[in-house]
């Protein structure tokens, strides 16, 4: 099928995007990479009156360091982030997560902010940003605000963004030196949306005990960051028995919805396996000083 008619704007400044959103609000939609929105338009599952294309705003496509943090402007293409040396050096978890996002042809247009704003429960980047304690900078004509990842994802395909709000930047704080990381997932075919997956960070202290742990599962209503896993491991040795216990703790309260591709029970079992693999791989890397293995 083909999209229903709509009006189209391609402003060059963030201020103009915000003005248009204030004027049209609910009747307009931001168009970023279009890799989720255009399929919905093609099948007429979405029929907005107006699209505001944000990919021609230079300020919205940018990756830069800021006070030790990584700042990714929302309309930065996923392919650009994948090739960013700064990101590879300080936040390799994002690069590992991106490899699972669709195919290179989709990442060439799809944006980082688009994936976050779309909030697909199986999407990799929201889970990675949750693990990294990212903060989302939003802007609208009424003002700007910053929302931490833990509060940004509200439900399936639903975020804290108001209809007149733009996701402007994503800020990822620095990680302690030597932090091990891992992103793992399982899908039937490469590039398909995942049936289960996990992102993990492990920082060890001088005695080899877990100092900082962060583990997020994907596939439920919102990215599932497990406080139980952190409780099991922090201050304790990361031996195999503790990792197994931590992975088991991770799925307590985790509620993925089942469908023809996998029941809820199957997905919980899969998530536990993914959690364990992510913890093991992150630990290996923590032992080798956070270097990719």
């Amino acid at each position: 099928m083909k999209p229903a008619p709509f009006a189209y704007d391609a402003p060059r400044e963030t201020a103009q995007v915000v003005e248009l959103l204030a004027k049209y609000g609910d009747d307009a939609k931001v168009l970023a990479g279009g890799q989720s929105l255009i399929p919905l338009l093609n099948f007429r599952l979405a029929r907005p009156d107006r699209l505001i294309d944000v990919t021609r705003v230079p300020a919205l496509s940018n990756i830069e360091p800021r006070d030790g943090s990584l700042v990714i402007a929302a309309a930065t293409r996923q392919a650009t982030l994948e090739r960013s040396a700064l990101t590879a050096q300080g936040w390799p978890l994002l690069i590992e997560a991106l490899r699972y996002v669709a195919h290179s042809q989709i990442r060439a247009l799809g944006t980082v902010g688009g994936s976050v704003a779309h909030a697909d429960p199986a999407a990799e980047l929201p889970a990675a940003f949750m693990t990294l304690d990212a903060r989302f900078h939003l802007r609208c004509a009424r003002g700007a605000r910053t929302v931490p990842a833990a509060e940004f994802f509200v439900s399936y395909f639903t975020t804290a963004l108001e209809p007149d709000e733009l996701l402007e930047e994503i800020e990822v704080p620095p990680l302690p030196g030597g932090t091990g990381y891992a992103f793992v997932e399982f899908a039937r075919r490469h590039g398909d949306f995942a049936l289960g997956g996990a992102a993990a960070l492990i920082t060890l202290d001088a005695r080899g005990m877990c100092r900082h742990i962060s583990l997020t599962l994907l596939g439920a209503e919102t990215p599932w960051r497990s406080p139980q896993t952190e409780q099991v491991l922090v201050g304790n040795p990361p031996d195999e028995q503790n990792l197994v216990e931590a992975a088991h703790a991770a799925v307590q309260g985790f509620e993925p919805s089942g469908d023809i591709h996998g029941s809820t029970e199957y997905r919980i079992g899969l998530a536990e396996t993914m959690a364990l693999r992510a913890l093991r791989r992150a630990l290996d890397r923590a032992h080798t000083g956070g270097r990719p293995t």
């Binding site: 099928m1 083909k2 999209p3 229903a4 008619p5 709509f6 009006a7 189209y8 391609a10 009747d27 168009l31 279009g34 890799q35 255009i38 399929p39 338009l41 093609n42 099948f43 029929r47 009156d49 107006r50 699209l51 294309d53 990919t55 392919a79 669709a102 195919h103 290179s104 042809q105 989709i106 060439a108 247009l109 075919r189 490469h190 590039g191």
Partner: protein
């Protein structure tokens, strides 16, 4: 929902396709794939699923493979596109020869998208393992060949690029 006035919302776009500028007045909802097929008259770019899954519509935008079913023509305004028709202008492209030699083509519906996805790798003279070739092909579906001929063809074309 208010009705959008179509006449007032058409735009003039200029897209370079295979080194030829194509200018047209288009509605914003026109997909790049339909611009290529209907306005530029280049029917080598195929439309299968129209939601990014099959890869038949893959073209290169400023040198990078993208889905032309998931991009609006207005978004490609001022940019440069290459379609399968750009290959083999002076005789068959090595990739095309390899596909013939290895039986990488049956009905041919998927072929243009596959060629445009893989051509940059051949161009760069990349050395890829079989696994990496399979990975590079993972964004393109073929309903006929069972893929083995396609993988062999890509392997052959890459080996020629090195000799």
């Amino acid at each position: 929902m208010s009705t959008v006035d179509l006449a007032s919302s058409t735009r003039r776009v200029r897209i370079e396709i295979n080194e030829r500028a194509v200018e047209a007045e288009v509605e914003p909802r026109l997909l790049l794939a339909d611009f290529i097929r209907e306005r530029a008259g280049l029917r080598g770019t195929h439309l299968g699923c129209e939601h990014g899954v099959c890869g038949a519509c893959t073209v290169q935008l400023d040198g990078e493979p993208v889905r032309s079913c998931l991009m609006l023509a207005v978004q490609a305004d001022g940019r440069s596109v290459r379609t399968v028709e750009s290959l083999g202008r002076g005789g068959l492209h090595p990739l095309q020869r390899a596909f013939i030699e290895c039986h990488g083509v049956q009905c041919g519906f998927c072929t243009p998208g596959i060629l445009m996805s893989i051509e940059p790798l051949v161009q760069e003279g990349r050395t890829l393992t079989r696994e990496e070739i399979r990975h590079a092909l993972s964004g393109n579906l073929c309903r006929c060949t069972g893929y083995q001929g396609i993988i062999a063809a890509v392997e052959l074309a890459l080996s020629w690029a090195h000799t």
